[in-house]
C-alpha cells in the first residue's frame, strides 16, 4: 500500500513536471517545424488518396484498405485548418507552397477547408460499399475539394 502511494506521488509529481514541459515544447515548435510537419501530413493525405485510386483501378477495391485510407483523410481534414498558423508562410525562410492569401483572406481559407470534411466522410461511406464506381465518383468529388483550395492557396508546381 505504501509502495502504491509512493508510486502514485512520483507519478503525479513526475507528470506535473513533464506535462507542462511537453506542452511548452509543443508551443515552441518553430515555424519551420510546423511547415515540415504539415507537409508530411499533406503528403500522407495525398498518399491515402492514391491508395484508394489504386484500389479503384483494380476493379475490385479492398474495402479495408480503402476505408482505412478514407478515414485517415477524414481525420486529417479536420486538423488541416490548424496547420497554417500565422508566420508559417514564406517569411519562415523554408520552402513552402503556402500562399500569403491564406493569411490575407482567412475566411476564404477557412471556407475552402470546410468543404473537405463532408466529402471525406462521404468517401468513408463509399469505401465501405466496396463498389468501384461509387468510390471512384466520390474520389473525384473529394479531389475537387483538395483542388479547390490548392488552386487559390497553393503555389502551383511546374508539373505539366
Amino acid at each position: 500500500m505504501r509502495l502504491m502511494v509512493q508510486k502514485f506521488v512520483i507519478l503525479l509529481v513526475g507528470s506535473a513536471i513533464v506535462m507542462p514541459a511537453g506542452y511548452l515544447a509543443a508551443a515552441e515548435l518553430t515555424p519551420a517545424e510546423i511547415i515540415k510537419t504539415r507537409q508530411e501530413h499533406l503528403k500522407d493525405m495525398g498518399a491515402s488518396m492514391k491508395a484508394i485510386v489504386d484500389q479503384v483501378k483494380t476493379g475490385k477495391p479492398d474495402v479495408s484498405i480503402a476505408t482505412d485510407a478514407a478515414k485517415k483523410i477524414a481525420a486529417y481534414s479536420r486538423e488541416l485548418p490548424k496547420w497554417f498558423p500565422k508566420g508559417t508562410g514564406d517569411e519562415a525562410g523554408i520552402k513552402t507552397a503556402a500562399k500569403p492569401e491564406i493569411w490575407a483572406q482567412p475566411d476564404d481559407f477557412q471556407a475552402a477547408a470546410e468543404k473537405l470534411p463532408p466529402e471525406a466522410d462521404k468517401l468513408v461511406e463509399a469505401a465501405a460499399t466496396g463498389d468501384a464506381a461509387m468510390i471512384g465518383a466520390q474520389l473525384q468529388a473529394t479531389g475537387k475539394a483538395c483542388q479547390g483550395c490548392h488552386k487559390v492557396f497553393r503555389v502551383p508546381p511546374q508539373e505539366h
Binding site: K43, M45, G46, A47, S48, M49, K50, V53, D54, K57, T58, G59, L139, Q140, T142, G143, K144, C146, Q147, H150, R154, P157, Q158, E159, H160
Partner: protein, 235 residues
C-alpha cells in the same frame, strides 16, 4: 525533272532537280506531333487532364512508331542515315553560315541530332506521364499504381521539367528551320509538307529509297497496340 540552266550555258550547267525526300509516314508523324504537342500543352494548362492523357497516348504511339521507322523506314527517315559522327558534324558546322547553305537531301549532319533529341525527349516526356500523379491524388497516369505517391509526384515534377526542355528545344528547332529559310534560302518547311524539294546539281541527285507504305501501317498498328496494352493492362 531538270529546271532552268543556272550557269548560263556553262559546260556542266548546275540545275535544280525536284526530288522527293520525305515519305508520307514521316511527314504525317511530324505534323501530328506538332498538333498533339500543342494540344497537350493547352489541355494541361486548362486542366483538361482526361484529354491531356489521351493526347499523351497518341504521342507515345507515334513516337514508338517513329523509332521503328528509324530502323526500317525510307532512307531519309533512318537513324543510320542521318546520325553522323563528330567529324561530319563539326565539318558541317563550319559551313553553317554559308549563303545559300549547303542543301541536304534529308536531315543535315547537325539537324539529325536535334531530331533524335526531340524524339528521345518526347518518349521520356510521355513515359513520365504514365507514372505521374497530381497533388490532389486524383488525376493519375495509368501506370501510377506501380509506384508510390512520392515517386508519382517526382515523375510529375520531372514531367514538368522535361516539358520545359522540350519547349526550349522546339524553339531552337523552329529557329533553325527559319534560319535555313530566311538566311540559307533553303525552305525545309515546304519539303516537310510536300515531301519534295529542289536540289541543285549538275547531275540528277540519287533518288531516295522509299519503304513500302504497308510497312508503316503495320508498324503504326503495332505501336498503337503496344501503347494500348501498356495503358489498359491491370498490372
Amino acid at each position: 525533272m531538270p529546271t532552268p540552266d543556272l550557269d548560263h550555258g556553262a559546260k556542266h550547267p548546275v540545275r535544280l532537280w525536284r526530288v522527293r525526300i520525305w515519305d508520307l509516314p514521316t511527314r504525317l508523324f511530324h505534323w501530328l506531333v506538332v498538333g498533339l504537342f500543342a494540344f497537350s500543352w493547352w489541355t494541361a494548362e486548362s486542366d483538361r487532364l482526361d484529354w491531356h492523357i489521351l493526347s499523351g497516348y497518341a504521342i507515345l504511339a507515334l513516337v514508338v512508331f517513329r523509332i521503328y521507322w528509324g530502323f526500317v523506314g525510307s532512307d531519309t527517315a533512318r537513324f543510320t542515315t542521318f546520325l553522323k559522327g563528330p567529324r561530319t558534324f563539326f565539318a558541317y558546322s563550319r559551313r553553317l553560315l554559308d549563303r545559300p547553305v549547303h542543301i541536304s537531301q534529308g536531315h543535315n549532319p547537325m539537324g539529325g541530332w536535334s531530331v533524335i533529341a526531340l524524339i528521345a525527349l518526347l518518349l521520356l516526356q510521355a513515359g513520365l506521364g504514365l507514372f505521374a500523379i497530381d497533388v490532389d491524388g486524383i488525376n493519375a497516369g495509368p501506370l501510377d499504381n506501380l509506384v508510390s505517391f512520392e515517386t508519382g509526384r517526382r515523375a510529375a515534377g520531372l514531367h514538368g521539367l522535361v516539358f520545359n526542355i522540350l519547349l526550349m528545344l522546339t524553339a531552337l528547332h523552329v529557329a533553325a528551320v527559319l534560319y535555313y529559310w530566311l538566311w540559307g534560302r533553303d525552305n525545309l518547311i515546304d519539303a516537310m509538307i510536300t515531301g519534295a524539294k529542289l536540289m541543285p546539281g549538275v547531275e540528277p541527285p540519287r533518288a531516295t529509297r522509299f519503304a513500302p507504305l504497308g510497312r508503316a501501317v503495320l508498324g503504326l498498328i503495332a505501336a498503337a497496340l503496344l501503347v494500348a496494352c501498356v495503358v489498359l493492362w491491370r498490372f
